[in-house]
């Protein structure tokens, strides 16, 4: 058995393990981190296929950037009580394990038949040697891919500016958003515990703000304190 085969099976186990953990985990943050594990395993598989560059880009973009973005998203959005779902599944779901099994087995059979029946032709551009990153860059800037490349960068620029505009809007009415949070706390749909938590967050807010100088830095600390309140909510069991 070559080292490559061994590495493939280890990576495959990690990838599948990550995905399975993501599906069965109860907390959103565990799901995101499990997903990042399978992203890493996929990056390893790319390297095994000789696509070093793609593998590292996978690590930078997915494991490094997307996962952290998702973690920030989870931490910054209040979702108290939403993560604790009932321990037992709904009755309707429990009654039909056989149907679920048959559906999954059928899907697997169809996919297996399709994959086994396909002849994977080797692309004339494929090479066993790792592709030089400079060659990729040269290809990207050649006349063949230049237009799509430029269009993508414009799209990304639009997204960037859009994000800044949205964030600016948020920053101008911080006080408004705090009020909105309080409203959410008093609305009948929310459990009363959320209100208590909000009050706690506000207290943390004030102590943190008074601990430091006022001014711009105070504002930052205030934001941090608000964040802590939101995360406390999320961390409740």
């Amino acid at each position: 058995m070559s080292g490559g085969t061994l590495a493939f099976f280890i990576l495959a186990a990690f990838g599948l393990g990550g995905v399975t953990t993501m599906l069965t985990a109860r907390r959103v943050i565990h799901m995101v981190l499990a997903l990042s594990l399978s992203f890493l395993a996929i990056a390893g598989l790319y390297v095994l296929l000789g696509a070093d560059f793609l593998g590292v880009v996978q690590i930078i973009v997915y494991t490094g950037a997307i996962t952290i973005l998702a973690v920030f998203g989870i931490m910054l959005t209040p979702h108290g009580g939403l993560e604790t779902e009932p321990k037992s599944a709904p009755r309707q779901g429990r009654r039909m394990p056989l149907v679920a099994f048959l559906l999954a087995a059928g899907l697997f059979a169809v996919l297996f038949w399709a994959v086994a029946g396909t002849r994977f032709a080797r692309s004339p551009f494929a090479s066993d040697e790792p592709v030089d990153a400079a060659a990729i860059g040269g290809l990207l800037l050649s006349s063949r891919y230049l237009l799509p490349f430029e269009v993508i960068s414009v799209v990304l620029l639009v997204a960037l500016i859009g994000a800044i505009v949205l964030a600016k809007d948020d920053a101008s009415d911080t006080a408004g958003s705090v009020q909105a949070e309080e409203h959410a706390g008093t609305s009948p749909a929310e459990p009363p515990t959320v209100r208590a938590d909000n009050a706690e967050a506000h207290r943390a807010d004030r102590t943190a703000a008074s601990a430091r100088d006022t001014g711009e830095s105070g504002q930052h600390v205030e934001k941090e304190a608000q964040l802590v309140g939101a995360v406390r909510e999320a961390n409740r069991e």
Binding site: S2, D52, F53, I59, A204, L227
Partner: protein, 335 residues
Amino acid sequence: MRDWLYEPLSAERFGWMVLSILILLGVLLFLVTYAIYVQRKLLGWMQSRVGPNRVGPYGLLQTIADVLKLLTKESFVPTHADRPLYLLAPIVAFAPAFVVFAVIPLTDRIAFTDIGIGLLFYIGVASLSTLGVIMGGWASNNKWSLIGAMRAAAMMISYEIPLVLAALGVVMLAGSINLVDIVEAQRGVWNVVPQFVGFVIFLIAALAELNRTPFDLTEAESELIAGYQVEYSGFRFAIFMLGEYVYLFAMGALIAILYFGGWLPPHPALDFIPGIVWLVVKTLFFAYLPFWLQATFPRVRIDQLMTFSWKVLMPLALVNIAFTSLVKTIAGGVS
């Protein structure tokens, strides 16, 4: 790396891999132990104190005693901590710092692996330690650790951009992102001369990535106690610290390779000294520089930190790239 992937994995080959990893780990543990000693001694001298001088001659065994103390302490898990993440976080924070050594070439012949995209690999893997920090801060269920972790994540993400943009200038000069090629391209003159602006940006961004003073807001013991590490004790705390110091050496080696000619001697007449000695000397100097700065600079505020990264370093790095490409195009057009 590629050669063993496609060859049969014999016990002998596997044994060599494990052995070389253990040797690297041993060397790094030794370096980290004495880096902590040097840091404390240096800070002591700069603040008109003696520094550690009780355990062993000149206090040389102080860190070893400290490590033994840490290892015998109870490894405590807070009651409401997110247990799996809490246990995993130190490992996730340490592993990337260690893995990046795989691509750092010690000389043109001695390297663990010489992959074509070495620099990119370093940057990509190093960014993963942010995840460990966030995990640790979140899982501790303590507001100080969480604030520390959020600051760390925001800072590491913001300063990664000027870091990469500054390194891009070097890549453009060498025409490659392979670290061996980058060093070979500096045979004439070290990159620090034509890329001085890039070097300064890189050094500042590297200090922020390492969470060292003046950017040690994530730990800031006077306001956050110890940031994301506050709930950690014993062995797990030791692993966090180990990761931090190993990353310090990795960053020192990267600065030496990118800007100071790696294993190349300062003058061809000094060629008789083996290249690995030069690389080690340069690496140790850039690993030591942060301690020096630590004793000199006050800590910046979080808003100054963000403003500095986005409004000063990043535009400067972009100008540097534009200027480098301009010079390279003109020089290329003439020749």
